[in-house]
Amino acid sequence: MRVLVVEDEVRLANNIAEALRERCGFAVDCAEDGTDGAAMTEFKHYDLLLLDLMLPGLDGLSIVRQVRRRKDMTPILILTARDQPAQVVELLNAGADDYLTKPFDLGELLARAKALIRRGKGAPQPELTVGRISLNTVEQTVRCAGELIDLSPTEYRLLEYLIFRPRAIVSARELLEHLYDYNWQHHSNVIEAHVSNLRKKLRAVGEETTIATLRGRGYRLEAPEQQL
């Protein structure tokens, strides 16, 4: 999952980004002003937008309106130091999904971020299952018939992204865009390597669910028919 944090207070933005990377395993990009932030949302790489309300350039509310005008469904969480009800109502009516007032609890921010991403992908529960595999987004663990599978952080993120859309074809490009931030050098073959490792680990525990490679089109999480 990839998150965009638009916050002019650099120290705060870094803390949030660090926590999202460390605790949720998300890829995070930061923008310091509203204009840059709005431009970055246009790529549609993000699974969540975290916006400060008072921003130089373009304020949070304007970004929300821009995003929603494009029919972009990305969940939006607003950070604000002001919590007058009228303002909250205006924000939510403009298309924001949730808000947090500063100073907030970092743990609450992470929980809300995860919940919004889950909801945005149509899965309200924190545990997702395909075949015998169950993935817990809170614990960031993957089990096969109750047995823990030891995955690297990247393998976990890859599976987490794919498990929200079983049987759908996800391109390598999309995986790159949603699993890595801008600071990472893009090499499409890195995805292939991680997919191959993940496939091996699943097979090792005797799981029939696997990730199919469709040449030139992408990847697909496939479970045996009767088990889906």
Binding site: V10, N15, P56, K102, L106
Partner: protein, 475 residues
């Protein structure tokens, strides 16, 4: 709102006043009419009295007695029964009197000695009487007649006189009362109608609150000569008040925003650090960051308090400092920063020149301006600080701080003295400012009765000019 204040209605007072004046007029008119009528009637009454008395004189006859006396024979006279009369001889002997009258009445009648008309009262009855000396010639046919002087007293009750007069002017009194009622009703209607703009104005003014500032005087109010100036000045006042109120609210909101953001940084840094086990190295780095965060927060709070202090207290008489020496000292202190940024700091100051400013405030003003200039200068730039008497005018000192930095965009220039305003937020955050530096400068300068002015062009640089009244040299 408060029941203690006794209110009085303007329209009720007006109506009351007009009706009272009308009532007085009607009363006066009626009194004059009654008086006039009474005067006429009294004169007619007097003539009637005299006439009756004359006819009484005619009734004086020879008594046919040995003393050759005269007597009154009223048998041929037709006189009202309630009238009373008396005929006296020159010696005072009663020659005759009205037969029905009591002794008390006759005594009251004869009490008057002067001739002419007079009034008297017996019991509840009022009388008007006439007394005159007459001469009656008796037996004119015989030997030229005898001349018999007599005194005739004749009185009649005036009861009917007053009633008659009131009856005569009754129509006028009734007409006045009717007029009074009609004008009263007309006045109420007219005033209600005419005063409706005033009520509208009051209603609209009553709706104004700190949440709803809308005040649009209705056309009817603006068309009223007396109300238009009130409505317009109220509109003006409310607009000013709204601006001030909103500015204050924004200010409080901005201050809260800054503080909350600072706390959010501290809190998130702490929570991030305690989220998972860290190495000693990581803890150390985290603590250093936290220390910086808290220092920035301390700076923010101290600046906000400085600003509050400057705006609250008036300048004291004893506050004075030598501006050129303060500038030299501050420049000396900031030289390391200038060297670090590789900026040349040029100082050009006049001789000693005192201004009404506390030394600490003057230092804060100079350091804020010079640090700003240094921070906005590129490497190898130049910052010049000049203190001089302005244009040769004695008594006015000018402090100019100019840089050749990146300048301020024209759109941001009018706002630079506003609190928490940052032309470039991310950058000022990085340099630790909270957008209060220039607000503090402005407060310091204005507290000492001076002015501050900023000129800037993108790419050319910025110049801040402070003009202060100089104190007379105490040397």
């Amino acid at each position: 709102m408060s029941a203690a204040i006794k209110t009085h209605s303007l329209s009720r007072q007006l109506i009351g006043g007009v009706l009272l004046a009308e009532l007085l007029c009607a009363a006066l008119f009626s009194a004059v009419a009654i008086g006039h009528e009474m005067h006429g009637r009294r004169r007619a009454f007097d003539v009637m009295l005299r006439g009756r008395a004359d006819s009484l004189l005619g009734a004086v006859q020879d008594a046919e007695d040995p003393e050759d006396n005269v007597t009154v024979d009223p048998t041929e006279l037709v006189l009202p029964a309630q009238d009373l009369y008396e005929v006296l001889s020159p010696s005072g002997r009663v020659l005759g009197h009205s037969p029905a009258s009591s002794a008390e009445l006759l005594a009251a009648l004869s009490a008057s000695r002067a001739p002419g008309t007079f009034n008297f009262r017996v019991g509840r009855e009022r009388y008007r009487a006439v007394r005159f000396e007459g001469v009656r010639v008796i037996d004119r046919e015989e030997n030229g007649g005898y001349r018999r002087p007599v005194t005739v007293l004749y009185a009649a009750p005036t009861r009917g006189l007053w009633h008659g007069a009131v009856e005569a002017v009754w129509f006028y009194i009734a007409a006045s009362a009717l007029l009074l009622a009609v004008t009263g009703i007309a006045l109420v209607w007219f005033l209600r109608r005419r005063l409706s703009p005033l009520q509208e104005l009051a209603a609209i003014a009553g709706r104004v609150s700190t949440r709803s500032w809308e005040f649009v005087p209705p056309a009817a109010v603006l068309r009223t000569t007396e109300l238009a100036p009130i409505a317009l000045s109220m509109e003006e006042l409310l607009k000013g008040l709204q601006l001030a109120f909103e500015r204050q609210r924004r200010l409080t909101g901005d201050a809260a925003h800054e503080l909350k953001t600072s706390i959010a940084v501290l809190k998130s840094s702490l929570q991030l650090l305690s989220m998972s086990p860290r190495t000693t190295q990581q803890y150390k780095a985290g603590l250093e960051g936290l220390l910086l965060d808290s220092e920035r927060m301390e700076e923010l709070v101290s600046r906000m308090l400085t600003l509050a202090r400057l705006e609250e207290a008036a300048v004291e008489q004893s506050e004075s400092c030598d501006l050129p020496s303060v500038v030299r000292e501050v420049a000396q202190r900031l030289r390391p920063l200038a060297e670090l940024k590789e900026v040349t700091l040029e100082i050009s100051v006049t001789e000693a020149c005192a201004v009404a400013m506390h030394t600490d405030d003057a230092e804060l003003l100079c350091s804020n301006l010079i640090v700003n200039a240094l921070q906005h200068s590129a490497a190898n730039g130049r910052v010049s600080v000049v203190v001089q008497e302005r244009g040769g005018i004695k008594g006015v000192v000018e402090l100019r701080v100019a840089d050749r930095g990146d300048g301020i965009p024209a759109s941001a220039l009018p706002h630079v003295f506003e609190r928490f305003f940052r032309a470039d937020r991310s950058r000022s955050r990085a340099s630790g400012g909270a957008g209060l530096g220039l607000s503090i400068c402005k407060a310091i300068v204005e507290r000492s009765g001076g002015t501050i002015h900023i000129e800037s062009a993108v790419g050319t640089g910025t110049e801040v000019t402070v003009t202060l009244p100089a104190l007379p040299t105490s040397a």
